[in-house]
Symmetry: C2
Subunit: 293 residues, 2 copies
C-alpha cells in the first residue's frame, strides 16, 4: 500500500503544481501564497480517494485528476482558514509556518478564498465531459458549504468547552461527519460519477466513504493526543488546549481505537458488490488504522 | 429608471431570501450569518445587470435569477471578508454593524466562505440548462478569483501608502478593473450567456460592462470623499484614512468626475448594435453618474 500511495501522491502533487497558476502570474503574491499552502507535501488523501474510486469503475486517473486536485485545493483553503488567529490560531502545519505566519492574516484569508474559487474553475475548465460538471460542482459545493465542511467548523468552534456527556457524543459525530466526512464522501463520489457509476454503485461507495471518513477523524483525534510534533508536523495537544470535543476526551483512547476499527470493517463491507476490484480501497482503509502522521 | 430599478431590486431580494438556506437549517448560526449579510438592502447592482443583459437578448428574469443571485452572494462574501480587522477593519456596512461585529471574526470568515461556496451550488442546482453550467461557473470563478476580484483586493492592500504618480495611476486602473470590474463584467456576460448571446453580442456587452465597472468604482471613490455616513451607510473618508490609492487622491475630484462621464459614454457606445433594445442599459449607466449612495 505504501508504494501505491506514494506513487499516487506523486501524480497528484505533480498535477497540482501544473494546474495552480504559476508564482509569476500577476499579482504574484497571491499565487505564491496559494502554491505555498497546496504544495507542501500533504497526504493527498482526498485526491487519492477520488482517483481510487474512479479506478474501481475503470476511469483512468487522468480523467479524474482535475476533480481530485480541486478537492485538495478546497482542503488546503480550509486548513489556511482554520489555522487563522480568529479560529484555531495554529502557527505550524505539516512542519511549516502557517500561511498567516508567512504572508500575514489578510493575505492568508485571501489565499484561502482564491483556492476555494479556483477549485470550481478547475472543474469547470478541465473536466472533459461538460455534461457532468453541474453534478460535480453540486457535490463539491454541498460538501464544502454551510451544511458540510463549513458547518462542521462552526459546530467545532461552538463545541469548545462543552461538558463531556452522551449528548455531546452525538454532537461530536455530527462535527466529524461534516468537517472531514463530507469532503471525503464528495471525493469518492466525484471519482465514481466521472467513471459513470450506477446508482447502486454510488450508494456503496458513499457508504464506504462515510465510514472511512469518521474512522479517519477518530484516528486524527487519537494522534493529536499520542503523536509528536515531528510526526504530525503540527503542534500536538492543541485539541485539549482549546478544550475541544474529541473522541479520546469523550470515550478514552482504547474505545476510540476500537470505534475506528469497527468503522473500517463497516466501510470495507460496503464494497462487497465490487468483489476483488475493491481490494485496493479496502487495503487503504486498513492502512489508515496504522498511520502515525 | 428609479422605478424600474426598485422593481428589479425587489425581485432580486425576494429570490435571495428564497434561495438562501433558512435560518433554522442546522447549524442555524451560520445560516443566520449568511442571511444577515446578504439580506441587508443592498443596491443589487450585479444581479440587476445580469437580469438586464438577459432581457436585452430576450431571456426572462426567472431564467437568469439563480445566476444573478449567485453574483450577489459572492459580492456579499467579498464585503464580509474586506471588512475584517485583518483587511479594511470596517465596523459599518450599509448602515448596520459588519458581520464580524455581530457574529465574531471566526464566524464572519466562515459566513463569507459559505456564501462563496453556495453561489456555485446555486448555479449548479438551479440553472435549468445544465449544458451552460460549466461556462457560467467558469465566468464566475475567473471573475471572483486570484486574477479577478481577490487579485484586486490583494493589489488594493499592497497599494496603501504608495506615492501618487503616473505609475500608480496605471496600478489604480488595474485595481479597479479587478476588484469591481471583473464581477460586473461577469454579471453582464452571465446574463447574456444564459440568453444565448452570439460572440459579437457578448463582446459588445463585455465592453459595456468594462467601462461601466470602471466608472462605477470612480464614482464610489468620489462618494467616499463627498458622501455622508448616512448616505453611504458606511464610514466615509476610510480610503484617505487607510492611505489608499483612489481616483480623487490621484487626479482630483473634477477630473475624476469627467473620467467617469467619459467612461459612461464609451459604455453606451458599445451597445450600438442592439439599437433601441439597449435603452434601459444606457439609462442605467447615465443614472449611475447621479447616484449619491
Amino acid at each position: 500500500m505504501e508504494h501505491y500511495l506514494s506513487q499516487k501522491q506523486g501524480l497528484v502533487s505533480k498535477a497540482l503544481g501544473k494546474y495552480l497558476p504559476s508564482a509569476s502570474v500577476f499579482p504574484p503574491l497571491i499565487h505564491r501564497a496559494m502554491r505555498y499552502s497546496v504544495l507542501n507535501g500533504g497526504k493527498r488523501l482526498r485526491a487519492v480517494l477520488a482517483l481510487m474510486a474512479g479506478e474501481l469503475l475503470g476511469a483512468p486517473n487522468s480523467k479524474v485528476m482535475p476533480y481530485a486536485c480541486a478537492m485538495e485545493m478546497v482542503h488546503a483553503y480550509s486548513l489556511i482558514h482554520d489555522d487563522l488567529p480568529a479560529m484555531d490560531n495554529d502557527d505550524f502545519r505539516r512542519g511549516k509556518p502557517t500561511s498567516h505566519k508567512v504572508f500575514g492574516e489578510g493575505m492568508a484569508i485571501l489565499a484561502g478564498d482564491a483556492l476555494l474559487t479556483y477549485a470550481f474553475q478547475l472543474i469547470a475548465d478541465k473536466i472533459q465531459d461538460k455534461s457532468i460538471v453541474a453534478k460535480l460542482v453540486g457535490e463539491l459545493s454541498k460538501a464544502a458549504g454551510s451544511v458540510g465542511m463549513v458547518g462542521g467548523q462552526v459546530l467545532d468552534i461552538l463545541s469548545a468547552g462543552l461538558p463531556v456527556n452522551r449528548s455531546t457524543g452525538r454532537q461530536l459525530r455530527e462535527i466529524h461527519l461534516r468537517k472531514t466526512g463530507a469532503m471525503i464522501i464528495a471525493s469518492c463520489r466525484g471519482g465514481a460519477i466521472i467513471a459513470g457509476a450506477s446508482g447502486r454503485q454510488l450508494a456503496a461507495i458513499t457508504s464506504y466513504a462515510r465510514n472511512f471518513g469518521l474512522a479517519f477523524q477518530i484516528v486524527d483525534d487519537i494522534l493529536d493526543v499520542n503523536g509528536s510534533k515531528k510526526q504530525l508536523g503540527k503542534t500536538p495537544g492543541k485539541d485539549a488546549k482549546l478544550n475541544k470535543l474529541t473522541y479520546p476526551a469523550l470515550k478514552g483512547l482504547k474505545a476510540s481505537q476500537e470505534e475506528a476499527e469497527y468503522l473500517i470493517k463497516q466501510a470495507n463491507k460496503s464494497l462487497a458488490l465490487f468483489g476483488k476490484k475493491a481490494d485496493k480501497l479496502k487495503e487503504l482503509s486498513d492502512y489508515l488504522l496504522t498511520r502515525n502522521t
